[in-house]
């Protein structure tokens, strides 16, 4: 049974079929007893049909018809398991360069990233790509799983070499917390259960790491930001003059009585109440969904942001953004897009491409200014009205945005404000 105070941890796994990513997820689900009998029976039957010896754990993550047929992951799939300590959400993403957009998508909400390295091959281009995306999206914790240790005789030396290889290139990235785990997803070593084959390894198993990692300080608790989603006006007998601002606290803590400023108007007031169906609160923090009322009658609507008066975000029409292009249609030069940032929406233009990043080598290409699918670039964006933002590094909610093509309504890019 789950404890009432257990937390939710979201992590992403990036890798290809060959890395044993599906096997690892299957192993986590299987050994944590999250697989049901009918699922197991189905997988056993398929394993037999395909001529595998024993249960092919990778089959637990099979998805859409095309994926089953081609044996690949096409889209992000979300999977769930629970241990007595935590509830876990896995964003299972494909690792191929062609699917950068899916890796970015999976990474955007993750607390932790698992990067798989095949012990036989060590750090390869794909490893660097995954690490780069994890750092770009500011995933707070990275766990490098050096997999298939069984195929290198569980060698400590092989493990140590890969650790130094990884540390050497990752020093160029902005990652706060990297841990290394020698595992065999196929045999289960150090995934859920400790390995008897690697007595030299004294660290934690993967699951133990996921269960005990400190995550409550990953969210920004300092900068109080409240993007208004909608205005609540009950117009009932009991709440005749009620005017509540509904939203989810993006970061920080709000207290009843706080002096706040409403942006972009700049009007100042005090928090009169923080309301929920379960009663009034004295304080509320990210990521709580609440309704806030103010002492003064101010004109506030969706897209506005309530912040503490003594700690305000930046406001500007000109943004430097790390952009990931998600759509098959390339960006049109100086084309206008709809920008969506928290609950705010306005028009924007990509004014200039500063450089494109080679996500395998981290090199900056200053010449190639074309924006195509899966490209990651630093650009200058100009908006029609000032945007209230924090840098993505400080705040994953008020520092992120998407671009929507007005012609197709498609989401074409994701951006992180520098």
């Amino acid at each position: 049974m789950q404890l009432d105070n257990s937390q939710l941890l979201r992590f992403t796994t990036a890798g290809s079929v060959d890395d044993g990513k599906s096997t690892l997820i299957g192993r986590l689900l299987y050994d944590s007893k999250s697989i049901f009998e009918d699922q197991l029976e189905a997988v056993e039957a398929t394993s037999k049909k395909k001529g595998h010896v024993g249960v092919d754990l990778a089959l637990f993550t099979d998805g859409l018809r095309d994926e089953r047929e081609q044996g690949i992951t096409i889209d992000v799939a979300y999977r769930y398991f629970t241990t007595p300590k935590r509830k876990f959400i896995i964003a299972d993403t494909p690792g191929h360069i062609q699917y950068t957009r899916n890796m970015v998508t999976g990474a955007s909400t993750a607390n932790a990233a698992i990067i798989l390295v095949d012990a036989r091959h060590g750090v390869i281009e794909q490893t660097k790509r995954h690490a780069f995306i994890a750092s770009l999206l500011q995933i707070p914790h990275i766990i490098v799983c050096i997999n298939k240790m069984d195929l290198v005789d569980f060698s400590e030396e092989v493990f140590n070499n890969i650790v130094s290889q990884f540390e050497e290139f990752s020093s160029k990235l902005l990652v706060k917390d990297i841990r290394f785990r020698p595992i065999s997803a196929l045999l289960g070593d150090n995934v859920v259960n400790r390995s008897e084959n690697m007595p030299w390894y004294e660290g934690a198993t993967l699951l133990h790491t996921l269960e005990n990692m400190h995550i409550s300080s990953d969210t920004n608790k300092v900068d109080a930001r409240f993007p208004v989603q909608t205005v609540l006006r009950p117009q009932s007998e009991e709440f005749r003059d009620y005017r509540g601002y509904a939203g989810r606290i993006a970061s920080g803590i709000f207290y009843k009585g706080d002096e706040v400023t409403v942006l972009p108007s700049g009007f100042t007031s005090r928090i009169k109440s923080i309301d929920t169906l379960d009663g009034e609160l004295e304080e509320a923090f990210a990521p709580m969904s609440v309704s806030i009322t103010l002492e003064d009658d101010i004109d506030i609507s969706r897209g506005d942001m309530i912040v503490r008066t003594n700690n305000q975000p930046e406001a500007s029409q000109d943004l430097d953004v790390m952009l990931c292009w998600l759509h098959a249609n390339p960006a049109r030069p100086r084309a206008k897009y709809t920008i969506r940032h928290t609950s705010n929406e306005q028009k924007a233009m990509i004014k200039e491409v500063l450089y494109k990043v080679d996500i395998n080598t981290f090199d900056r290409n200053l010449e190639d200014k074309e924006i195509g699918m899966n490209d990651i670039l630093k650009v200058k964006i100009r908006t029609t009205q000032p945007l209230m933002f924090d840098s993505y590094q400080q705040n994953r909610t008020t520092g992120s945005l998407i671009l929507v093509d007005e012609g197709t309504n498609e989401t074409v890019a994701a951006g992180m404000i520098v």
């Binding site: 018809r65 089953r68 300092v222 989603q229 609540l232 309301d275």
Partner: protein, 313 residues
């Protein structure tokens, strides 16, 4: 940063976090408010099952102290458990919400669809047409569902905001990427969206939440005596719609339902669980998936994906 705030950030680290149910609740409320803000005419798809009941409960929370701004839409196959309909009507009354009913019988009478034939005939697939017709007739631009990603492998790839083209179809390989919590509900006339606020909940989460929030659910979920027939590895309730095979025998058993669908396809399980607490315990110990008793999912490996592509819930 002010010094006071710096100290605060260190001192408060451990106190200010949400437990998993609070975080899931907050996420769902956020999604429901986004739906309200981004669409003109959204509805909640209400089946009378626990998931749509939880979504409705969350909608109350999202808009309090205002009323639920969404109408509830029920696709009525005509093959209902009477308990579901009673429950639905009572809930609608207590919420003061509007009810829209799409009737499969009407779709059949109008010749929009034809009844399936044979022993295992159901109206499950027919619902798709009725649902899409009701969406079009009522000019609904977003239908909020209680679908969860843990239910089924095709559902595992669903977005919170899921686009449907003007034929109501889902294209799983060409979905809009959904990053952070920024949802893009922009659409052209005639297209619509499905929104899934409890995407990240599991069956266990739903039960723990029902228990914690003391949410009322239909009596069918609790263990009760009922006339049933053993068919396709589960206890199918006896009803006027059930055609008995020669070897089949109606017996009375103490059962409960783990999911609620049509009376013709929803299999019960033997159970003694007659309180939410006992159900939660039972579910925690279950070794079969929830939809294992749904014959609609057993038709093929990709039964759910195929129906979803066409516009199913």
């Amino acid at each position: 940063m002010l010094e006071k705030e710096l100290e605060l950030s260190v001192e408060t680290m451990s106190k200010y976090y949400l437990n998993y149910l609070d975080e899931l609740e907050s996420e769902a409320i956020y999604v429901l408010r986004e739906v309200w803000a981004q669409f003109q005419n959204p509805v909640i798809l209400f089946s009378g099952g626990k998931d749509s009941i939880v979504v409705t409960h969350l909608a109350r929370k999202a808009f309090y102290p205002a009323k639920i701004p969404f109408a509830l839409m029920h696709v009525d196959t005509g093959h209902n458990f009477p308990e579901t309909i009673e429950f639905r009507d009572r809930l609608i009354e207590s919420l003061g919400a509007r009810l829209i009913v799409g009737s499969v019988q009407e779709s059949i009478d109008k010749g929009r669809v034809a009844e399936e034939r044979g022993k295992n005939a159901t109206r499950n697939a027919l619902q798709i047409t009725t649902l899409l017709d009701a969406i079009e007739e009522n000019k609904i631009d977003c239908a909020i569902g209680g679908g969860r990603r843990d239910e089924e492998k095709a559902r595992a790839k669903e977005r919170f905001f899921s686009h449907r083209d003007d034929f109501g179809q889902w294209d799983p390989k060409n979905q809009r990427p959904e990053l952070w919590n920024i949802f893009n509900g922009k659409h052209f006339e005639g297209e619509h969206f499905r929104a899934f606020p409890i995407s990240n909940w599991t069956e266990m989460d739903v039960w723990n939440y029902i228990k914690r929030e003391n949410i009322k659910i239909p009596s069918l979920y609790f263990a009760h005596e009922r006339e049933v027939v053993w068919r396709n590895n589960s206890w199918i309730p006896n009803s006027e719609f059930l055609k008995l095979e020669e070897h089949e025998e109606v017996i009375t058993k103490k059962i409960r339902f783990r999911t609620l669908g049509d009376i013709t396809i929803t299999g019960g399980i033997e159970s003694e669980a007659d309180t939410v607490e006992k159900i939660a315990e039972e579910v925690a110990a279950m070794r079969q998936t929830e939809r294992g008793n749904r014959s609609d999912d057993k038709r093929s490996e990709t039964a759910m994906e195929d129906r979803k592509r066409q516009g199913y819930f």
